[in-house]
């Protein structure tokens, strides 16, 4: 399984990353892409600021990727997570999963996002339209609940 993990301030290009993942191979039959975007929360936000733990962010995402690779027959995966100031409408995170058949790619993409949200060391802070700094985003109980279904089931 080819694994690409990038933590970066710059935007990413989903089409380019998909082409890189599938280049020069004919065994991949399915690629699932998930893109997480910054919302303005009904016009309230001017930006989200993403803080991260350099070093651990890469290491933790790699551990999550390895778990996914043990669970599904993946042929490749890409995770790109941005940090810094991100405006509403901009991309925050990209997950690409490649497999021979679609089921593995769909399930693995969902698994990767669920674990990324609860285990990858990133923190969001709101910046408000009036120019002031808002609050740190609180972790959602639904994100912890999402993990439970993977812990209960196999595949």
């Amino acid at each position: 399984m080819s694994v690409t993990i990038q933590i970066q301030a710059d935007p990413f290009d989903t089409a380019r990353e998909t082409a890189l993942l599938t280049a020069r191979r004919a065994d991949i039959g399915a690629v699932v892409s998930f893109v997480g975007l910054c919302r303005d929360e009904g016009g309230r936000l001017s930006a989200l600021e993403l803080e991260h733990y350099p070093g651990m962010a890469e290491a933790e995402i790699r551990r999550i990727a390895e778990m996914a690779g043990e669970r599904w027959p993946l042929l490749g995966l890409t995770v790109i997570h941005r940090h810094g100031m991100i405006r509403p409408g901009e991309d925050i995170v990209l997950v690409l999963t490649a497999s021979a058949h679609r089921e593995a790619a769909f399930s693995a993409a969902s698994f990767l996002m669920d674990y990324l949200k609860t285990n990858a060391p990133f923190w969001k802070r709101e910046h408000l339209r009036d120019g002031t700094k808002g609050a740190w985003v609180e972790a959602a109980a639904r994100d912890d609940a999402a993990l439970e279904r993977w812990e209960r089931t196999q595949g």
Partner: protein, 83 residues
């Protein structure tokens, strides 16, 4: 031992990192938290809800009962909100 802090834990303590000499008897992550809370009200504020603050030892998530002997870097941070 190097300690690093992130997000509101960093803001409450008022620093991004520091190097500390630990006294005798600090064996686990929760021992370390208990000791940090004696160092001033900024630490008490950061760890006022101990069970909320997460820890990592050398870039790996660590539960409160994890032994810290041999650690190079211990991080404290709030529950994660990436993705």
């Amino acid at each position: 031992m190097k300690l690093v802090y992130f997000a509101w834990v960093r803001e409450r303590i008022g620093r991004t990192d520091e190097t500390v000499e630990l006294p005798e008897g600090i064996e686990t992550v929760s021992d370390l938290v208990r000791w940090l809370k004696t160092r001033g009200e900024e630490y008490e504020y950061a760890f006022e809800n101990e069970e909320i603050v997460r820890a990592a030892i050398d870039h790996v998530h660590a539960k409160p009962d994890r032994v810290i002997a041999g650690a190079r870097e211990i991080a404290f941070f709030p529950p994660m909100t990436g993705g």
